[in-house]
């Protein structure tokens, strides 16, 4: 008999005859979170993400590429990695950014260059979560997984209309992994700020292994309202 059969055999012999009712997660979230307006969601997302030391830059469809160009210059970025087949690949390529480097071949053929000679990576985002200040990043064939991990700076373009109240809302609204919903990619990610650690004497340090900086280009055509100034960092959510 295999280890599998022995383990499952023991568990089956001991499992209770009647399982308790399926847990009601919907009721919990209904009780804890009231749905919010788009403006509130955007403001909450910005406040929380700023707390994680994510940098938020408001952009429009018309100016985001130029803003990115300016940010690269300001941060001394000489090589910006992107997915040429990604949703924004064409727009970036058309803008003729001199620093652009395409991620268009298997990582195994250029690992060293990726780790040592790329200053920043650019990705799209699937959406975000307001409650915790979190980006939803779904890498795929066009935008590989390491774009958001290996380069020291991660630029992410986020459509303000795709911010959900909670992770639970995002999973339900888009039907992640459920029949008739959206199939999960091989690697789905939630990202809340740059990489960090507090493993030495509980002292917070950024850039542990992944990006040292996370910059969100927030695509929002509606004018920013009072109290949502992203330049004012909030400290309440500091880890």
């Amino acid at each position: 008999m295999s280890a599998r059969d022995r383990i499952l055999g023991r568990l089956r012999a001991a499992a209770p005859r009647t399982a308790p009712a399926a847990p009601d997660v919907h009721t919990l979230y209904e009780a804890l979170h009231r749905p919010t307006s788009r403006t509130e969601r955007v403001a909450r997302f910005c406040a929380q993400m700023t707390g994680w030391r994510g940098e938020i830059v408001r952009v429009t469809h018309a100016n985001w590429v130029d803003t990115l160009r300016g940010l690269c210059a300001a941060k001394g970025v000489n090589s910006l990695l992107y997915g040429p087949r990604g949703v924004h690949g064409e727009a970036l390529a058309a803008a003729g950014l001199s620093v652009l480097r395409p991620y268009d071949r298997p990582v195994d053929t250029w690992k060293e260059e990726l780790f040592e000679r790329i200053d920043a990576g650019f990705t799209s985002t699937r959406g975000a979560i307001a409650e915790t200040g979190t980006l939803i990043v779904w890498p795929d064939a066009a935008e590989p997984r390491l774009l958001s991990l290996v380069p020291p700076i991660h630029f992410a373009l986020l459509d303000a209309g795709r911010i959900h109240d909670t992770l639970f809302d995002a999973i339900c609204a888009e039907g992640w992994g459920s029949a008739g919903g959206t199939a999960l990619p091989t690697n789905a990610l939630l990202v809340s700020g740059p990489s960090k650690t507090a493993d030495i004497q509980q002292t917070l340090a950024y850039g542990a292994h992944g990006p040292k900086e996370l910059v969100i280009l927030l695509l929002d055509e509606t004018p920013a309202e009072a109290g949502t100034d992203p330049a004012t960092p909030t400290t309440e959510a500091r880890p």
Partner: protein, 482 residues
């Protein structure tokens, strides 16, 4: 700590002696006291509304109990879905089997270096030593784990492995062990040193190993929780990714994850969320540019099924490994994680280790509690830890009841003397005449009470009967008032 030899060679039976050494170490106590105060305050700040917290805990408990009640079918569903997604699923009865599976995978790929994300289950199986014996380097890449491995130690806390070390100790360690590094106490510089060393290793590694925080049966998804990004490195850069987890970590649906994840990070470090939540549902597809070409999952029992077989002790497996029970435990705070000599220290370790290692080696652990109840109060999945401690104390000192299989090491702490004392006590307290005679003798001959009373007088004054029993004193008072 006085023990400088690797902890895995310290038998758990020596627990009591080690607690003495730990409580005598002022630096160690200071490290833990301040770290635990910090973590308790951070957790409390995340739960300003107690009724909301209680609702979340009830839902989280319901999810874990529901998942455990259906464990065998969920494991099979998980295996089916992962296999369909292209992930290889392996089953291991114990640590040796799990290590053999991983070494076999490494050998098939002629691997020389394995980078490891944080995995307490791999600590449980002593994977690093098995890999070393097989000639394969296993390098810890979580900053805290990297630090303790560099110093030849084991983690002293399941979430913050190097919590027992000061930055001065780490500065000396790096200057001594990392080539070309000079002494610096700057935490940013120290983390920068670790980053540079480890990024080099992520590039070179043939295999990446990780644990699993939640395994979703319906979608075949392995979820990993982390702040540093080393978990993502280990599961993305090398050509092979091996995940290892205990059989209890499975949940049915993805929607069951958010309540557990939300409580896990808030209970553990007082964070609303971690930097990364990594959901892995399969290896690199043919048109993808990165990610591992092969993904394996090793499901480990290691006698968790013994806890599962008992309705009360099954609650032990509800644990989501947040470590809040240790952070709030007055005993853990005073002796630190190493004194326990087990992979999982603190209250959760006291109730899970007896299953993994047997009561013969661990019967002292459930006694390392004042039963104050703080652990149960903060547990996000409502494990009744004090009840389970009392239960295990009983199992360690008694035979299994008729008709029930004995636990591993059942009755290991049985003592003829203690049995005789309790039999005598029961006889006295069930026979009034005998009790009165005993009380008369004990009070009249109180001068004969021995001044040294075994363990009791090691740190307390001797027990001595009163000059007159309560019964006699009351009778006297009645006479005086008449």
């Amino acid at each position: 700590m006085t023990a400088r030899h690797p902890l895995q060679f310290v038998p758990a039976e020596e627990f009591k002696a080690r607690t003495r050494a730990a409580t005598d170490d002022a630096h160690l106590r200071q490290s833990f006291r301040s770290a635990m105060d910090f973590l308790m305050a951070k957790r409390a700040a995340q739960f300003p509304d107690d009724s909301a917290l209680q609702r979340q805990r009830e839902t989280a408990e319901a999810i874990r109990r529901y998942s455990l009640a259906r464990l065998p079918e969920l494991l099979e569903q998980l295996e089916r879905r992962l296999t369909a997604n292209g992930v290889h699923v392996h089953w291991a009865e114990n640590g040796d089997e799990a290590n053999a599976i991983i070494i076999d995978i490494a050998r098939r790929h002629s691997a020389k270096l394995m980078v490891k994300g944080k995995s307490m289950v791999s600590e449980e199986t002593e994977l690093n030593h098995a890999m070393e014996a097989a000639g394969i380097d296993a390098l810890e890449s979580d900053m805290g784990e990297y630090i303790v491995q560099l110093d030849g130690e084991k983690p002293s806390h399941i979430i913050m492995p190097a919590i027992h070390k000061t930055k001065q100790q780490i500065a000396r360690l790096f200057a001594e062990k990392v080539p070309g590094v000079s002494y610096t106490e700057s935490v940013d510089a120290l983390i920068g040193i670790g980053r540079a060393v480890l990024r080099e290793k992520f590039m070179q590694a043939d295999i990446g190993l990780s644990g699993v925080n939640f395994a979703v049966a319906e979608t075949g998804t392995l979820c990993l929780v982390e702040n540093e990004g080393n978990g993502r490195m280990c599961t993305t850069v090398p050509r092979v990714h091996v995940a290892i987890t205990g059989i209890e970590k499975v949940v049915e649906k993805l929607e069951h994850v958010p309540p557990l994840y939300g409580l896990l990070t808030r209970s553990a470090t007082g964070q609303a969320i971690t930097t990364y939540f990594n959901m892995i549902s399969g290896p690199r597809k043919p048109d993808e540019q990165d990610g591992p070409e092969e993904v394996h999952l090793v499901l480990l029992d290691n006698n968790r099924s013994q806890a599962y077989a008992d309705e009360q002790m099954r609650a032990t497996l509800q644990c989501i490994r947040c470590g809040a029970c240790m952070n709030h435990c007055p005993v853990y705070t005073r002796i630190g994680g190493h004194a326990y000599g087990t992979t999982y220290p603190g209250p959760i370790g006291e109730i899970i280790s007896p299953h993994m290692m047997g009561l013969a080696a661990t019967h002292a652990l459930p006694t390392a509690s004042s039963l104050c109840g703080a652990c149960a109060e903060v547990c996000p999945v409502k494990i009744p830890i004090p009840d389970l401690l009392i239960r295990l104390r009983g199992e360690a000192t008694h035979d299994a009841p008729a008709g029930r299989a004995p636990l591993l090491g059942q009755g290991a702490a049985k003592s003829r003397l203690m049995d005789a004392v309790w039999a005598g006590w029961a006889a006295l307290y069930t026979r009034p005449a005998l009790y009165r005679a005993f009380a008369w003798l004990a009070t009249r001959f109180r001068a004969l009470t021995p001044p040294v009373q075994s363990g009791w007088t090691a740190s307390r004054t001797p027990l001595r009967p009163a000059p007159r029993s309560l019964r006699e004193q009351l009778a006297e008072r009645r006479r005086a008032h008449r």
